[in-house]
Each structure stands twice: as structure tokens, then as C-alpha cells.
Amino acid sequence: MWTEILFLATPLPAPPPPPDSVFGLAGAWAEFHGCVRASEHGKKISALNYDIHEVMARKVLTAHLDALAKKHGLVAARFWHRFGTVPVGEAAVYAAIAAPHRREAFAALAELMDRLKTDVPIWKVEAVPA
């Protein structure tokens, strides 16, 4: 499976189209943008700060993507996560999954985001008050 995992300290760029390697294989390319809301635990905020253990996060994510690829027959996956300060409204995470059919793509994308919150060493460290 084609996989791209990036951790960026800058705003996430506009995602490019699926890689050429999935041409003709993927009937579905499902995308998710996770954005910072204007409130955290009931308080207004202007940004969230994220920290990451990059090497381990990449390793854990790769294992999750390999497992999801086997389970759902995926052909490509892209996962980007921002660290440092992420202002309200901007994306902290972008994930995309290519699969032969939409059900597998949607299911794998949802599972990937659930797995992110179980053991991938990335943290919201603090909310910056508005």
C-alpha cells in the first residue's frame, strides 16, 4: 500500500490528489480534516498546542495503517498531523484513504481516527485562551 505520513509545524497545505499508483485501483478516496474548535472544555480558546513523539508516532501509525490495509484491502493512505500552535479553525489533522469501494474507505478512515486516539503519541498540550 502506498503510504505517506507527515508531521508539520506549519499550516497543513492543500492536499494533492491521490498518488498515481492508485490510478484505476481506487474507486473511493475518502478524506477527513480535523479542525480546532473555538472552545475547549467549555472555555473559549484561540488555539491549541500539540506535542508529538515523531519517531514513535510514525511507527505506531504505520502499524495501524498496515493492519487497516489488510482488513479493508486499502490501496493508499495519507496521514498528516500538525504540531506546535494550531489556531482555531485550522486543521490539526488530515487523513485520506483510498480503497476499491466507498464502504471500505469510510470504515478505514473512521477506524484510523479512532486508533489515533488510543495509542499514537500525539498530544493536545494546552489551549490558548481567546
Binding site: 514513535m56 481516527m113 486516539k117 495509542d119 498540550v125
Partner: protein, 79 residues
């Protein structure tokens, strides 16, 4: 061994890493004893931290030796 701190734990300690020497490979409990002696401010976090050895979550049988990189992983919250 190199000890890595992240997120709230790094903030509480005011540092992101330490170096710890052990005379022989140690269990997680023994490592924690040394860590708490070095950084008593870790005490409130111990119950929720998972140890990772060389970029993999450590199991109960793992031993930690000089040359290992040990990360203290508080509950994750990405996304």
C-alpha cells in the same frame, strides 16, 4: 539511557530529556524508583504514564538498559 518527556510532563519538569545510568538492566518498577528520585515532580503522572522502550510500548517483562531510549508516554490526545 536517554529518557524523553512529552506534553504536560515536559511542561511540569521544564525539560524534554534526561540521561540515566543503571548498573544493570532494570524492571519498569526499578526504573520508576530511579526516575522519581531524579525528578520527584513525576510522581503525580506515574499512574497514567506508559513507558516506551526504543519507540515501542514496553511490556511487563521488559528490562531497561543503558543505551535504550525510554519515552514517558502520558495519555494521548491527537486529532
Amino acid at each position: 539511557m536517554k529518557i524523553l518527556y512529552f506534553a504536560h510532563v515536559a511542561q511540569a519538569l521544564g525539560r524534554r530529556e534526561d540521561v540515566l545510568e543503571v548498573p544493570a538492566p532494570v524492571s519498569a518498577d526499578a526504573l520508576w524508583e530511579q526516575l522519581l528520585a531524579l525528578r520527584p515532580a513525576l510522581a503525580p503522572y506515574r499512574a497514567t504514564i506508559h513507558l516506551a522502550r526504543n519507540n515501542e510500548y514496553a511490556g511487563a517483562a521488559d528490562r531497561f538498559a543503558n543505551g535504550d531510549e525510554v519515552a514517558l508516554i502520558p495519555p494521548v490526545s491527537g486529532g
